[in-house]
Symmetry: C2
């Protein structure tokens, strides 16, 4: 059977994301005719039409949508193979741990301290990423292990260990009427006049509908809240990055958030095992806040 080459997958992903051969070719650094031919050949080899060409661009067929998803996963796996192999060559390579910037500060702190005193401690390097990007880092080999949050993050396909369960708080600009309350409900937080809830990327990378601003970094958020443009509901421990002009109020009926440590099952190594063991030792210890 004729196997696909990663080049073909990269080409298709570019076109599927741009929905435009010219721009995709540009992004890939090749000429448009070459791209058109490559995609045609790919369609022919798979025996399936992937794109509906149209006067004003291209649109994905059902099969195209399947391939977009699968190709992404496959390319991540290939990238992971390269990265992990390169790193296997280094002696004294540190373990890469990825987490959302600004989340779970203190838990992470304690984890690193605890692990440093473990007998078989390997050095750990912390990588910060944007919201929802941890899974990507694990999948493509940029990280060996991640700190993630259920139910917000995509844990599919990873082994995990629960570390900590906590409630959520609403983060409001100081001076807002609701900021004086000592607790809130989700119903009260929704539809606050002039204070729409910020919209985060969902598991599939799209944004939910709504009036609030689209954000994907903590600093954007902090800014927007301070400016009185939005409010948000976040895990209680995240108020570590709270600004002076922010006020956190517990939201009593918000779903609980579980902080977990996650790793790709294929990438299980003694170093990862050791770190996970250190993490398990932190179980249920409330963070100082």
């Amino acid at each position: 059977m004729d196997d696909l080459e990663t080049r073909e997958l990269r080409y298709f992903v570019a076109v599927a994301e741009e929905l435009h051969f010219g721009r995709a070719a540009d992004r890939l650094g090749i000429a448009q005719p070459a791209l058109s031919r490559a995609i045609r050949q790919l369609e022919h080899r798979l025996g399936v039409q992937l794109l509906d060409r149209d006067r004003r661009g291209a649109a994905l067929t059902d099969a195209g949508r399947v391939l977009l998803r699968e190709a992404g996963a496959a390319l991540d796996a290939v990238a992971a193979a390269a990265r992990r192999t390169r790193r296997a060559g280094d002696e004294k390579r540190p373990l890469m741990l990825v987490t959302k910037a600004g989340a779970s500060h203190e838990l992470l702190q304690r984890l690193l301290v605890a692990h440093a005193s473990a007998p078989d401690a390997a050095p750990v390097e912390v990588v910060l990423c944007e919201v929802g990007e941890q899974a990507r880092f694990l999948r493509d080999g940029r990280a060996d292990v991640a700190i993630m949050h259920r139910p917000y993050d995509d844990l599919a396909g990873f082994d995990t260990e629960d570390l900590y369960v906590e409630g959520q708080v609403a983060l409001l600009p100081a001076g807002h009427p609701l900021a004086a309350r000592d607790q809130l409900t989700l119903a009260e937080v929704r539809d606050v006049p002039g204070l729409p809830i910020a919209r985060w990327p969902q598991l599939d990378g799209t944004y939910p509908d709504g009036p609030g601003p689209e954000v994907h970094t903590q600093s954007q958020l902090a800014q927007l809240v301070a400016l009185g443009k939005t409010l948000l509901v976040i895990p209680a421990s995240s108020r570590a990055w709270q600004w002076p002009d922010h006020v956190a109020v517990p939201v009593v009926d918000a779903p609980e958030v579980t902080t977990v440590i996650a790793w790709p099952p294929s990438g299980y190594s003694p170093a990862v095992a050791s770190l996970v063991r250190s993490a398990a030792g932190l179980h249920r210890v409330a963070p100082t806040s």
Copy 2:
């Protein structure tokens, strides 16, 4: 960054498995010099030595072992992308369900019947594979969903739903002294003179040490047990394939076996969801035996 091509990964896997450039080249249908050059180039691009060449063949380095594992996963992902995309083109494509030949007969039977009467039932095609191969089928796209057994099968990276929990029985040749007992313990079953326990492939594909024969199909096993060459401990429901000259005796302290339905998180589709829902409806119903 220079991405790897699947061709290079296939070449490396062949060499890593054969540990011999000539044989690997033969298997790939290319000449040995081309292979040598491809591997050298791969090593150079990764900046890591993958193989220790030696007068009598090649041996994997640590990095090589990492790449062997990662490349396998990556190639499976690429193959899955191709297969799932092709199948997405077919209308009326059946759902592919894979299970070990001979295991969980009746549960599967009931699942298929239950699902056939579901309102959104898609046709289901059953594929049988050898012991421990289900994960491979799910990973490379040959199957959409699998019936597997914890703790025997490798469930890492899949979403699962528990279907059924059962104890295990020892399968003995009729006429053996232990066959008259109405229950046994693991301690009694181990080290039965002249009846070593058969050795199954472990999660990593290697065989545990021991005196018993290496087997990987049910029919091999059935034969060996009937011949009085081995005994084995298996889930109670597997005695469906028991021969007339087999006797099953419960092993009271053997770990429980959970039959689960598993699917790759990436491959989640309405059809899979529907089948899983049907399966969940079977919960805890004891099979007739």
